[in-house]
Symmetry: C2
Subunit: 327 residues, 2 copies
Amino acid sequence: MRLFKLILCLMVITHVVMAQSDPLPSWNEGKAKSTIINFVTEAIKPGGANFIPKEERIATFDQDGTLWVEQPEYTQVVFTADQVRELADKHPEWRTQEPFKTVIERGVEGLKTLSEQQVAHLIAVIHSGMTVEQFLSTVNAWLDQARHPRFNQPYTKLIYQPMLEVIRYFQENGFKTYIVSGGGQEFIRAYAARTYEIFPEHVIGTAGKVAYEYQEGKPVLKKLPEVLFIDDKQGKPASINLFIGRRPVAAFGNSTGDQQMLEWTRGVPGNRIALLVHHDDPVREYAYGPDSRIGTFSDALMKEALDSGWIVISMKNDWKQIFSFER
Amino acid sequence: MRLFKLILCLMVITHVVMAQSDPLPSWNEGKAKSTIINFVTEAIKPGGANFIPKEERIATFDQDGTLWVEQPEYTQVVFTADQVRELADKHPEWRTQEPFKTVIERGVEGLKTLSEQQVAHLIAVIHSGMTVEQFLSTVNAWLDQARHPRFNQPYTKLIYQPMLEVIRYFQENGFKTYIVSGGGQEFIRAYAARTYEIFPEHVIGTAGKVAYEYQEGKPVLKKLPEVLFIDDKQGKPASINLFIGRRPVAAFGNSTGDQQMLEWTRGVPGNRIALLVHHDDPVREYAYGPDSRIGTFSDALMKEALDSGWIVISMKNDWKQIFSFER
């Protein structure tokens, strides 16, 4: 035990020495990078005017479009379309029943015609009866074989290297880093620990209800075909309050779905930053704005960002490298 | 920064030296105490058969009757009865409307006639329209002046010293300590940080819905008169899954409301403990069992505890001291 603690102690000293190097090597110098570094530097300076006590160092990150690619479709939408087709054999009634029929016949294109609520409901319905563990295995089996149509990489490799550096930088400086996503909570939990080192208790997302049952005398949690809450737009500050019970001091998003989370973060005075990833790089990734069906970056959002002192991250100009797999 | 880290390092060394002393001084020697100490000792032993990686060190604690006194009434029930009477002036319609009428006329005695669902609903209704911050202030203002009828102490002093030592012992050994209570989440959050050093993100309880609104251009979260979920019985494993996404390795409860949480914790093999506080000390605290209206310790629960290898903590025999204020 003593030896273990002394090794830990040596690791702390090593860390002090290493902390001098650039924490965000994939970022070009500019306002976005300097804002993040200044914020953290000030936040951890004991006695400084902008010091943030360790327990209040909460940073929240949207997932789709902020931490990984969301074009041409949300990953979970591709997964869901695949799942509806795969599970259709067990549910012959789906062939004539909407919205299943549309999805069976037209796949992702059919799913795209549904509203966010309809998709959330569909996701809840198709996996109902599964235990939570079975669902996690199903997601991981799918992620193992699925490839992104353009980059021909597993989706879990399509995470943004610069954002990964931000997460690590925050974590190393005592911040708790939460994902706050409109996507399914369990879907994200399936891979967030290995991709971001963000553990299940720090993953907040749209959630379904579960039932506590016994299977062969052992308790299980089975997914029910009902949505508990949708974690998007106004739902994000609400879920942050539910799960964390404090306002974040830093929030990262990329669309109108994140607007309220950023407002909430900056809604009280103090050392607080809000940042939006702007997809303006059609060569290395995608460029999309107010006209996008997903990840909408509306003109009103850009105006609010400029009026409110939020930082707009230009993928094209601020990021030296986009994806982690490019390393 | 360097100085700060070196101080931290000295603290680690001091901690190694101090770790030799008894971590649970308010506990008498016995099976309960030795089970807890053996569990933690094994859990942190690197390479040991019962080692638990740091990220999986999750311990959950029921609140009423496990961490603080719940007799003769749940504290939140007393608070709610007081609130209904205080707010009744602004709601003349309550005087003729149930269940308000009963509570206005008969106070706590009236409230006791309602079901758990009715109480949860009543709590949601009476504070609807308040912001979350206003509710926290209201709870704290009440806690500042309220006194327990028997011990004539603030409720926040009626926490169990032996359990406080368990929480601290777990925390110092890298465990995350969560409260998982049938009581209101925000009610507990109002005092849990100062009483237990359990921060809001580690408080899970029965939760209400909130609305995101703007007040003078600033975002607020207003309480709605609707319950989101009830965190009791089967609701406890469900909320543990929702908030934490992993099974606890240690769980503490005291009643049939905690049964499923303890089953869930011990539902897979490995180094996992489940403990029940048994209120069998009418002299220093209370004695109540299957006949209790609250905190029910049924015969079936005692049987399940014995059959399943859960540890029953006898307040009378296992605890040298009961309350923190007795120090």
